[in-house]
Subunit: 382 residues, 2 copies
């Protein structure tokens, strides 16, 4: 047994939890709050809501929303300039994975300086970050509890994965209410992202008993509640369960890291600026099929967590039901089945595979991968 | 759904994890380390081992071992004096629940001042504590990850429960090797303490999905590994599983709080200075039987986690197997069956019951309790 490490932020979870945002920042010593969000979240009303709580706590703030899906290096550099110009001493991120990853990257540069590219990889951060509070408005990314920030390198057309426990926010505030303003597509894509986190963290070479229970419980919740959550904006029980599933999957992958699905989807997302959850959902069945020989007995647990009846079946027969369950869920949610429908061309696959093989997430994939393996998977999913 | 909060320290787990003690303290900015331990732990060799790592990290230290089981108010007051005299700026606790609870109480007074009695109850701590690293050498107390410190009030002959997230250590270092020096009695008593944490946190009114998965997993591990761990000092697999079980139960109860077993055993332990785990183990079946009507369906999950076969049984029939499983485990471990064997007299029960009813842990017990209920339970267990 190797030595393993485990960390989470302080977590505040529940209906109306968002009302604790001002008090939480105060508790961390904040007075001037740099608020990172985006236009979609603002138009859903959450930015206004959060600002009311900042006002009530007598906190000065600066609202910065110059961030796009798959947040980009130059956006982070502009963000940190705005942070210094404002004279911020704390960071609040409100939104999906992109807004929160951007908020964390701005926090990183705020005290460590330089360009975001310098911090790519594991543990290159030396100085403490400003206090960070994060409020997710989707149920999938898990960035509010993770030690990851994923930023696009626009010149190399790649994604950079930055991993450090300094990137774990101080406080994550998860309010299932915020999920009622997602449309069906965003609910499905982010929910499939959460499923991918749960499955890849469970199969990861760095999984531990502390992460495994959360990975499996997240799978159970997603298998039961993602469909109804995508079916209705107002199914409160389903939103609450998906918020919890995303949180548990987030804690799991932050500590156990991920695998080939994420390595491949990061790089494809960096190349074509595609929705992360959707790319994960397309790749997941192909990678799952390929990884099977690494851990058949774990696939059996996945099948059971996803609600398959394994009674009376052999280990191999029951474990293969994991793939069936994932495919059925993707089909019920109308997830596209091919990467070509998203704009990928066959002649891009070789370069893409090289980048994916170098992605940090590939190191914990349970099956050894060559460039040829990765390329073959991209081709199957094309 | 109410708002719930969840927190853990940074956790370092595994064989040889103890070797990270110096580096961990350094990382927190420590230079002068106040080391709290006790004679039993020292004679097992762990104090010497830890001091080697402090020396290697060039940390000054002062070893303080004036702490007894059920740590006492005057010991804490002497401890904080020694801390100031030494000029400490960090606290390292190495030992069972008593040493670690004492280390946390000394840390509390080091920066907040006054007498320990002022902090009894929930959230009475205003100033940040010095950096704290804790290394448990038993698998049961969970204090290394909890927001609890339990200190005996020697004048009132009661135990004071102090709860605050400030009491959560910065880093918990859990090395299953340290369990190989426990004797059979300590292994059994502390293991039953861990089981009580798992069960009471699961039945607690403050349980959440984040705590429940750890409560149940801890029960599974304890039901499988506590017997072999008590049978042999050198069963590495069993020690590792019990270290993980104690950790998971500790995270669960720190966030979900406990119930009547702990409320009663705290006060009995305060009155007669008895081993906490042993008292818990005696009380657990009686309280479990009494609490049954509060949550029969949860008892079914407990029965399953404890390895009972519930196939084909009704919910009520299967849930009652929880009690059978707990009794059999206590019997296999030679846990005494009566409180009178530990020195309790019938005429002490009324005063004891009053104190137990006021214990903070009673507030989250799943069944309403009167003084008469508590007294009846003490009498049954007599």
């Amino acid at each position: 047994m190797q030595i393993s490490k485990f960390m989470t932020p302080e977590i505040i979870f529940g209906q109306q939890a968002i009302s604790q945002v001002g008090e939480s920042l105060r508790r961390l010593g904040a007075s001037r709050v740099f608020l990172v969000s985006d236009a979609g979240v603002a138009s859903a009303g959450w930015v206004e809501r959060v600002i009311d709580y900042l006002d009530a706590a007598h906190l000065d703030y600066h609202l910065w929303m110059e961030v796009t899906p798959n947040p980009k290096d130059h956006e982070i550099h502009a963000g940190v300039e705005a942070y210094h110009q404002f004279g911020g001493n704390a960071i609040l991120g409100v939104g999906g994975g992109s807004a929160i990853d951007a908020a964390k990257a701005v926090a990183l540069l705020a005290t460590n300086g330089g360009r975001i590219h310098q911090y790519e990889g594991v543990d290159h951060i030396s100085r403490p970050l400003p206090p960070m509070v994060m409020v997710p408005t989707t149920a999938g990314a898990g960035s509010e509890v993770s030690q990851f920030s994923i930023i696009a390198d626009t010149e190399r057309k790649m994604k950079m994965t930055i991993i450090s426990k300094s990137l774990i926010p101080d406080i994550a505030i998860i309010d299932p209410q915020t999920l009622t303003t997602m449309d069906k597509l965003l609910t499905a894509n982010t929910g499939m992202d959460a499923l991918t986190h749960a499955i890849e963290s469970y199969l990861s070479l760095a999984a531990t008993p502390l992460t495994e229970v959360y990975s499996l419980q997240a799978m159970r919740l997603i298998s039961q509640y993602l469909r109804p959550s995508a079916a209705s904006r107002f199914n409160v029980e389903a939103k609450q369960a998906m918020a919890m599933a995303s949180l548990q999957a987030g804690i799991a992958f932050s500590n156990a890291i991920l695998g080939a699905v994420h390595a491949m989807s990061h790089q494809l997302g960096g190349l074509l600026d595609l929705p992360h959850g959707e790319v994960n959902a397309i790749l997941l069945p192909y990678v799952l099929e390929h990884n099977y020989i690494a851990a058949p007995e774990r696939y059996q647990k996945i099948a059971e967590a996803l609600g398959e009846n394994t009674a009376g079946l052999s280990m191999h027969d029951s474990s293969r039901l994991a793939l069936k369950a994932v495919k059925e869920l993707a089909r019920d949610l109308d997830i596209p089945q091919s990467l070509s429908s998203l704009g990928l061309h066959a002649d891009q696959i070789e370069a893409l595979s090289k980048h994916a093989l170098l992605d940090v997430c590939m190191a914990t994939n349970p099956r050894d991968m060559s460039i040829a393996d990765v390329a073959a998977l991209f081709r199957k999913a094309l």
